[in-house]
């Protein structure tokens, strides 16, 4: 752990349970404490395939201002949010990155003000005239932007507490889009998007390896259940195309095997695609164009494979982008309605129809609690379905404190393109509220339907010494399902 980390004031705060809630300690402000924690910059080889400038464009300041003008004309939200913030500070202590670091620029309003001061300088001279903070877009501001707009996971927790619903995530997205267009982005995010265009998925798994892994999982399932449960790849004419996070094929294999068992039990033909074996959309963290392009692959694959439905796997950012698919890449009317569908919706529905034989006692060794991934819950409206699944498959389910779940959920600390090791202190600090909420339940299994959370939370739990295993929601069904 980088030295600086121990300095975050939040590390020493104590967390306390109140009746049903969690008393959330707010750290003292410490200006600039997180300023040194920046993501590695992008490489030319990754910028090229994703249609971004490979180096800082000439006249980048003017270009950025022009882009800001364009975005103001394209996004009502941006325009309204920049105008109407009362600077009341209600959102200030609601961001896990402020709670974790105490760096004032991680207060949502202060983060937004980094863009707002540029907006004021060029577009709102009256406030500048009266002494409002205004600054031209210069190297210093760019550095602040690059640092703090990449310490925001675009989780939208702040918007829930803002009297006008100001969504700082949208302001972060705008700032990142402006930076991208002048050639400034992070290595991690651009690398991932470039990999999708090259290999079809975020991890860069080549098609033969994907197929290999699927065969290996089929063998595992055979050993475990004695049944011939298939993990089909590129099967034309299957009913369902499943787009999961590619990590499920590689790291979260229990979740992937659970999908296999699920469709086996239902007798539904399904497939994955080596052209689009990824739901997670990192274009979302960069700009509209890449978000649209990443998503398009999924519908292209659905057309090629002539499926009737596309189902999105256990992934938060996949679902956040999926709910825009109809807008971005639609109409999706070549598929059976309803669409898009998240696997938790699908499975919860099947459970409700009594499609499976379930032995809940198979999960009796677990005390389960549930982390609402912000993109599944707050952005994607799936609050009940995963819970219904857990209740149907487990006897022992306990909720985390009410101010840390559902639409008020804390991000795991690594969403929005932050799941990269050079900012580990930020990730651990941002994950602290979730860790403490989990600790307060005494649960030993933290169920999460999101691949980034599944990569981040085990590290968070280890770091903050919370003794809970992290796993998928479908993993629980898989354990309890009687085939």
């Amino acid at each position: 752990m980088p030295e600086k980390f121990a300095d975050f004031p939040a590390t020493t705060l104590t967390w306390r349970k109140t009746n049903g809630g969690l008393a959330i300690p707010v750290p003292e402000m410490d200006e600039g404490i997180a300023a040194a924690m920046v993501c590695h910059p992008s490489k030319a080889k990754d910028m090229k395939p994703i249609a971004l400038p490979t180096e800082r464009v000439p006249h980048w300041q003017a270009r950025a201002v022009e882009k800001l003008r364009e975005l103001l004309e394209k996004y009502r939200g941006l325009s309204v949010y920049l105008d109407i913030c009362a600077q009341c500070g209600a959102c200030a202590d609601k961001c896990q990155f402020y709670l974790g670091t105490g760096d004032p620029n991680n207060m949502p309003v202060a983060r937004a003000n980094l863009l707002r001061k540029v907006y004021r300088y060029y577009f709102k001279r009256a406030e500048k005239f009266l002494g409002g903070d205004a600054e031209p877009f210069n190297e210093r501001v760019l550095k602040e932007w690059y640092t703090y707009f990449y310490q925001c996971s675009e989780c939208r927790r702040c918007s829930v507490f803002c009297p006008y619903g100001i969504d700082t995530a949208e302001i972060t997205m705008a700032a990142r889009e402006i930076m991208a267009c002048i050639g400034v982005a992070t290595k991690y995010v651009t690398e991932v998007v470039a990999k999708v265009y090259e290999r079809g998925n975020n991890l860069g798994i080549p098609a033969p390896a994907w197929i290999d892994n699927c065969q290996f999982l089929e063998e595992e399932l055979k050993t475990e259940t004695g049944k011939d449960i298939r993990m089909p790849v590129d099967e034309v004419g299957a009913d369902v195309l499943l787009v999961m996070p590619s990590a499920d094929n590689f790291a979260n294999t229990d979740t992937m095997m659970a999908y296999g068992k699920l469709f086996y039990a239902l007798g539904i033909s399904w497939t994955t695609s080596t052209y689009a074996n990824e739901g997670g959309n990192f274009g979302l963290f960069l700009n509209y164009q890449n978000m649209k392009k990443v998503n398009k692959r999924i519908l292209d694959a659905a057309r090629q494979l002539k499926v009737k439905r596309v189902i999105w796997g256990e992934c938060g950012h996949a679902w956040r982008a999926a709910i825009y698919t109809n807008t971005l890449n639609g109409p999706m009317d070549f598929l059976d309605p309803p669409h898009p569908v998240h696997i938790c919706q699908f499975t919860a529905d099947m459970i409700a129809r009594g499609a499976f034989k379930i032995d809940k006692s198979a999960n009796d060794d677990l005390l389960i609690t549930y982390h609402d991934p912000c993109n599944v819950a707050r952005a994607g409206s799936l609050l009940e379905e995963p819970r219904a699944m857990i209740r149907a498959t487990c006897n022992k389910f306990v909720e985390m404190p009410r101010n840390t779940i559902r639409e008020k959920t804390f991000c795991c600390g690594a969403g929005g393109g932050l799941l990269t090791d050079e900012i580990m202190p930020i990730r651990m600090a941002g994950g602290k509220p979730r860790a403490e909420a989990c600790r307060s339940t005494g649960a030993n299994y933290l169920a999460v339907p999101c691949a980034i959370c599944k990569a981040q939370l085990p590290e968070v739990m280890k770091h903050w010494k919370v003794d809970a295993r992290v796993g998928g929601v479908h993993d629980l069904l898989s354990r309890a399902m009687v085939l």
């Binding site: 009502r76 500070g89 009256a126 829930v160 009297p163 006008y164 100001i166 825009y324 409206s381």
Partner: protein, 250 residues
């Protein structure tokens, strides 16, 4: 005419000109800003979930936002209380002031007369609280800029001068009414020769001038916040972004 009268006439003319200017800037600025919001597309449906599933639900959500600030209540109870009293006072004061611009005065305004006067007395308390917390809380101090302080000072100054002319240095109301009605009927007459009243009036004009260009636009913008004013039905029916086609991805 003697010199003093001439100067007074000149001042009165300037005051009237300033009043019309600020009213014009206020109305024009407000309408322009709102037209701009309406003109700007909302490309993706990003709603604060769980949200209303129907149009009446959206109306209820916005009405709630305007009347009781539910999100603020969840965020910070004390700030909510201060902010709510602050705005309730503003509203009552505003209602009371329609008596100077409408003839005949609506029943409702007459009925609310007394409680509106209390609102004027009460107003400085929440305003001071809001000002105090800007200084007392390190987080709020960090985000506060000069315009945030100026706005609160301006509103408090308006309310205080208002109470002064109402109670302590009374201005002759018939003159006031003649003046304000003159303004709204575009047949301006001389303002009352009362320095505190003139100060009160000038401050209000400054507020109007400032309004469309400042964060005070939240009063109009709250109706256009996309996370709050849309139906929470992103999955169905298909939501169309007007400029989606322009973004080429092949």
């Amino acid at each position: 005419m003697n010199d003093a009268a001439m100067i007074w006439n000149l001042l009165a003319a300037l005051l009237i000109g300033f009043a019309y200017l600020s009213a014009f800037v206020f109305i024009g600025g407000l309408l322009l800003r709102i037209a701009l919001y309406l003109k700007t597309p909302v490309p993706l449906k990003i709603v604060q979930t769980p949200g209303p599933k129907s149009a009446p639900g959206v109306v209820a959500r916005i009405a709630g936002d305007v009347l009781i600030f539910p999100n603020l209540f969840q965020a910070d109870k004390l700030l909510w209380l201060g902010a709510w009293i602050f705005h309730a006072c503003l509203f009552l004061i505003l209602v009371r002031h329609t008596r100077y611009f409408l003839y005949p005065v609506p029943e409702l305004v007459i009925d609310w007369q007394n409680i509106s006067v209390y609102a004027g007395f009460l107003f400085p308390i929440p305003a001071l609280y809001l000002f105090w917390r800007r200084l007392a809380s390190s987080r709020v101090l960090y985000i506060s800029g000069l315009p945030d302080y100026i706005t609160l000072i301006l509103l408090t100054a308006i309310a205080s001068t208002g109470m002064l002319v109402h109670y302590f240095a009374r201005v002759y109301l018939v003159d006031v009414k003649a003046f304000t009605l003159g303004l709204v009927t575009f047949a301006p007459v001389q303002p009352p020769q009362h320095p505190i009243f003139i100060a009160h009036f000038l401050l209000v004009c400054s507020l109007l001038l400032w309004f469309p260009f400042s964060k005070l636009m939240h009063a109009g913008g709250v109706f256009f916040s996309p996370t709050r004013n849309q139906i929470d039905n992103v999955l169905y029916p298909r939501y169309v972004n007007k400029w989606n086609e322009e973004v080429r991805v092949d």
